[in-house]
């Protein structure tokens, strides 16, 4: 069950439970866990999803974006998501309304001054993240924690441009964040133990499942997934098997819900290229290198489901060739 409305009713009990576990686990003092207001910087797919998770858990959540249109799009998507959650009886109408009530958007970065933690989910570029965190460091009080949702960049390197590298932690939510419970938690080289422990307890209070990983390119998920997907693409590139045969084999042999090429089409070849390039830059491992076929497919406009063709052809939601 999701820990809803942590500041009232059953939410308060849930928060007490999480807080008690936190003290038992880390032996620290109660004032360490004072997170009540969450900032989310960036209202793209990941930012909007993280904001849903935070608001649904009862935290006051402020979403910051430089573009008003992006905030409005995210708000519409969020309202639609909560409406579906109510339809499917995953939330009551009251819970959905309460979550929407604690969620607000802003284009004014100063509004994040009241946040106890700010999770950045902006473009995967070190300079962009440094620019944002530099501004946040001037806006937020020294006690505010910064978390990065990066999937491939180094937490230590991101923290180095924050002005408070002891209070920066990696919190990589999985896509789509509002549905996936896993969060990869990573300390940078200078992250304090208290920062990591507080962020860990906060993650649990969100109702998510944190796992600890080193500050390593790709952390756990992308470190294994990207080379695996590259190997699959190379298999197609070399004509060793058809995409439908590869997906069928993997699903039947291993019980995976989706074949790797179905997943790549869903994620998008352009997104795969970005993440794989970042992983290769960090590791220089041969299996992380992007196969030439990816660039050719992107040049041809074969991005996956979103363009109507990837490894399969799509018409609406129907799939051909599988």
């Amino acid at each position: 069950m999701l820990p809803s409305a942590l500041r009232e009713g059953s939410g308060a009990r849930e928060r007490n439970r999480v807080t008690s576990e936190f003290f038992a686990l880390f032996g620290t003092t109660e004032h360490s866990f004072m997170i009540q207001t969450i900032g989310v910087a960036g209202s793209g797919t990941m930012g909007a999803g993280i904001a849903i998770v935070a608001a649904r858990a009862g935290f006051r959540t402020i979403v910051y974006d430089t573009a008003q249109a992006a905030l409005e799009r995210a708000r519409n998507q969020t309202e639609a998501f909560f409406a579906r959650s109510v339809e499917r009886k995953r939330l009551t109408r009251e819970q959905a309304d309460r979550a929407l009530a604690v969620l607000q958007g802003t284009t004014d970065i100063d509004a994040l001054a009241q946040c106890d933690i700010v999770i950045e989910a902006v473009f995967e570029d070190l300079k962009v993240k440094h620019a944002l965190l530099g501004k946040l460091d001037r806006v937020c009080p020294p006690s505010t924690l910064f978390a990065s949702n990066t999937s491939t960049l180094s937490i230590t390197e991101i923290a180095a441009g924050s002005g408070r590298d002891e209070r920066v932690v990696g919190m990589h939510f999985c896509l789509p964040a509002q549905l996936m419970r896993l969060v990869e938690m990573s300390p940078g080289l200078r992250t304090s133990e208290e920062t990591f422990a507080t962020a860990w307890a906060f993650c649990q209070a969100l109702g998510q499942v944190p796992v600890k990983t080193k500050d390593n390119p790709g952390f756990i998920l992308n470190y294994f997934l990207i080379p695996f997907n590259n190997d699959v693409i190379r298999m197609v590139e070399a004509g060793l098997a058809e995409p439908a045969d590869i997906d069928l084999a993997i699903k039947t042999a291993l019980g995976y819900a989706m074949g790797p090429l179905e997943l790549l089409d869903l994620v998008g070849l352009d997104t795969h290229l970005l993440v794989a390039e970042a992983l290769y830059a960090g590791t220089h491992e041969p299996r992380a290198a992007v196969p030439a076929l990816v660039r050719r497919m992107i040049a041809a406009g074969h991005l996956g489901r979103k363009s109507g063709q990837g490894f399969y052809k799509y018409s609406g939601s129907a799939m051909f060739g599988a």
Partner: protein, 234 residues
């Protein structure tokens, strides 16, 4: 498409260690012959002229089909195909048949072989004659990487498994899966693929090497104990 087929089974079969509808429904003679077991050369010798069948389908382990058919300038192919029913170590065989073709394998032979397996309820994935076929070729480097990263303390074994289960929806994480199905089997497969491909991604990870050595040592100990028990006492 209904195809009459017969079975020729010589030696141990990893694909069919127990009875199965495919074995039960075979006829004495058929247009297609399924050859199972590890005494393949002997089976082919017994079959004689394989050209008189629509398809002859040979069970493969980690070896390539070309070992039995020969290869010629990338233009090889006939009515002989390979197959393996995928299984992971000690786990029972799955419902997947990897059907192996060569560049010039006759389409009618492929269709007939596919029809035979599908009539017995299998899912059939067609692939070229390469080491590891589809599944082992893709998953073994991933399993190796997981074992190596465990040694390098990227995360605990349970966090590695939890991440890959929750993050990707996999039914099982790599460490738990390898422990359950037998790490020494992973060694056997990866060592064969490494020898066949020369690709270091397949070189058995340290933990698999340790597991293999321990399995061999345990077998030697058991053999020594049994031999000692068999010796007459004064």
């Amino acid at each position: 498409m209904t195809v009459d087929y017969s079975m020729l089974s010589l030696g141990d079969s990893a694909s069919f260690p127990e009875s199965h509808a495919l074995l039960d429904n075979a006829r004495r003679r058929g247009e297609v012959v399924i050859v199972t077991g590890n005494r393949t050369e002997e089976a082919l010798e017994r079959l004689g002229d394989t050209g008189r069948y629509k398809a002859v389908v040979i069970e493969l382990g980690t070896q390539c089909l070309g070992v039995y058919t020969g290869e010629a300038r990338g233009e090889e192919g006939s009515n002989l195909l390979g197959f393996a029913r995928f299984r992971l170590g000690d786990d029972p065989p799955t419902n997947l048949i990897e059907l192996v073709r060569q560049p010039a394998t006759r389409p009618a032979a492929i269709d007939a072989a596919r029809a035979v397996f599908e009539s017995a309820g299998f899912k059939v994935a067609l692939c070229k004659d390469v080491p590891g076929r589809i599944v082992d070729r893709l998953v073994r480097p991933y399993y190796n990487a997981a074992l190596r990263r465990l040694d390098e303390s990227l995360a605990s074994a349970s966090d590695l498994d939890t991440t890959l289960k929750l993050g990707l929806g996999y039914p099982e994480g790599p460490i738990g899966l390898l422990e359950r199905s037998g790490l020494h089997h992973h060694y056997d497969v990866t060592q064969a693929l490494y020898e066949a491909s020369g690709d270091t991604a397949y070189a058995p990870a340290r933990r698999a090497q340790v597991a293999k050595r321990r399995t061999l040592a345990a077998a030697r100990t058991q053999e020594w104990t049994e031999r000692k028990l068999d010796q007459p006492t004064d």
